[in-house]
């Protein structure tokens, strides 16, 4: 990778400056709701925060989302993408893409004080693995919530 492309620098919210190559940039042509202008992200993982995946805006260091891979946030998670979303990502229209093989599927984590952490399973971030194009796919037909509680240890004790 280093011999073919020049590395660029990017300031990040949690991990200081990082280097990245142009072909590792995830492109969101429409941004995501409320962040329509953010079209380029880096997906970052760190051993200390496994299994979190951070979606870091290339343009704005302060814009960074903590996400969990959908299978980690919700075992057995089912994608139910609308035809328009499949089309926008260049995915086959007749079927749902396979997580891990066709697409990466990340769910945005919300941490609020004095409330259990939640993930947005209603609108996962879907990234075409082959083109690295991404989109937040609102799954209107699904039964998932935009504030789905994460399974925590304390809850299991009762």
């Amino acid at each position: 990778m280093t011999q073919t492309t020049e590395l660029q620098h990017c300031e990040t919210r949690y991990f200081g400056p990082v280097e990245y190559s142009e072909e590792s940039v995830l492109v969101f042509p429409d941004g995501i709701p409320a962040f329509e202008q953010e079209k380029r992200f880096l997906a970052m993982r760190q051993p200390i925060s496994e299994p979190l995946v951070f979606l870091q805006s290339v343009a704005h260091p302060n814009v960074c989302f903590a996400t969990l891979p959908a299978p980690a946030a919700c075992p057995g998670f089912q994608l139910n993408m609308a035809p328009e979303d499949l089309d926008a990502l260049g995915l086959e229209k007749g079927r749902q893409p396979a997580i891990g093989r066709d697409v990466l599927c990340l769910t945005i984590l919300s941490l609020t004080e004095n409330a259990p952490p939640t993930v947005n399973l209603l609108a996962p971030i879907v990234i075409n693995i082959h083109t690295l194009r991404g989109r937040q796919a609102i799954q209107t037909d699904s039964t998932y919530s935009h504030r789905e509680a994460l399974p925590l240890r304390e809850a299991a004790c009762s």
């Binding site: 409320a34 200390i48 299994p51 891979p69 891990g100 984590l109 952490p117 937040q136 935009h146």
Partner: protein, 82 residues
């Protein structure tokens, strides 16, 4: 709220230049065609909900707070690849 009854193929006008046409009525959903000026935002209501959730999720939290949350997950660290 104004309530109107319409059949497939019929339309509703809003103001001078917005038309909402009922294209198809299925068992559990209807297909709607919307003609509106470019300056008018047309979006599913869920987009606003998701936008608000994204804004909340983008609030600053420390890596330590994230770590604490992760430690409480039942499954413990799980890889995304299954």
């Amino acid at each position: 709220m104004l309530v109107m009854r319409r059949r497939a193929g019929e339309s509703i006008l809003i103001g001078e230049d917005i038309e909402i046409q009922i294209l198809h009525i299925g068992e559990s959903r209807i297909k709607i065609g919307i003609t509106a000026p470019k300056a008018v935002l047309v979006a599913m209501k869920e987009v606003r909900l998701v936008g608000e959730e994204n804004l909340a999720a983008a609030q600053l939290h420390s890596v330590a707070a994230l770590r604490h949350m992760l430690d409480r997950l039942i499954e413990g660290p799980v890889g995304g690849e299954k």
